[in-house]
Amino acid sequence: MCEDCGCGDPKLVSVEVHSSLLAANDHEAAHLRAHFLGDGVTAINLMGSPGSGKTALLEATARAWAGKFKLAAVSGDLATAHDAERLERAGIPSAAITTGTACHLDATMVDRAIHGTAVGEAVHAADFFFIENVGNLVCPAIYDLGQAANVVVLSVTEGEDKPLKYPVMFKAADLVVLTKVDLLPHLRGVSIAAIEDALARVMPKPVMIQVASTEDQGLDAWLAWLSARRDVVRAAPRLGAHEHVHVRGHAHPHPHPHR
């Protein structure tokens, strides 16, 4: 109680914290990143609106790289395993992460999906691990999943001003893949230059690749971009005996020393 004047007000103390509300997720993501780098796996967080063409892009990637690179994926949706089933049919070992009501994937969900599971073994041995996020241009943007790069899939039918309307998502993007460009002749008034201008106002290093996944059009640039990312990951110091703290006690088949 207040000792100064006896007014009966409680004695209040101020405690400084200055801690990001995402600190716990970031910690878990750092753990995932250490594993991916240790295994030489290039992890890609694929985000975009529902129906923007995330799954179709991965199907086209699997067609182009069959027998060349090993791919693995997890696919987040509120309900159903449809996307993971499509990816499996395309030859990508995959698992669904059904989030129930959650509008995004977080690092813990990805960790649960790949630790001690069949798809986890595929990720461990993969060249590329695609994390197909929940279709949503808002919530997934702020959750680090341990990825090497964020890719935002934007389809030409969504409108030129999407980057300006959803700046947080595009700010986080390392690459924007503009999909369904084969539809451009039917979309009067949609201008690539306007999309590029919008991106330049929200994305510090704007990079955009145009594809039509179902036509296997424009894939070379996308595959070259992915390969360059893989080169960076594989040139990073290989953490064969990496040290990191596990947030929850868990077992995994590959031994490595713990702090």
């Binding site: 209040l12 995004h104 510090p204």
Partner: protein
Amino acid sequence: MHEASLVTALFDQVDRSIAPHPGAIVHRVFVRVGELAGVEPELLRLAYDTLREGRTCAGAAIELVSEPAEWQCRACALPIPRGEVLRCPRCEGEARLVRGGEVFLDRLELEVPDV
């Protein structure tokens, strides 16, 4: 609405922060929300009020402070005005977000029992 999961993380951080103060009662929680943090302050408040029952924050008000986004040149620190292309008009340097990209638990106001 990812604000619900952020509020759960907030409650956990509050619990950790008051651990050194046994018997403390949380009166107010100060959270700073950046314009480009991807968090809607009113949804955060709604989630907080909905979920605080039974938590340490049950009787605590949340004070939200909005932090505007500020971009500047990574090389020469020239501010880049709102809505402009994110490239330095002076040296062509790349833009860097210096404020407004995060959501923080800034501080807590606690009532601590007399010793």
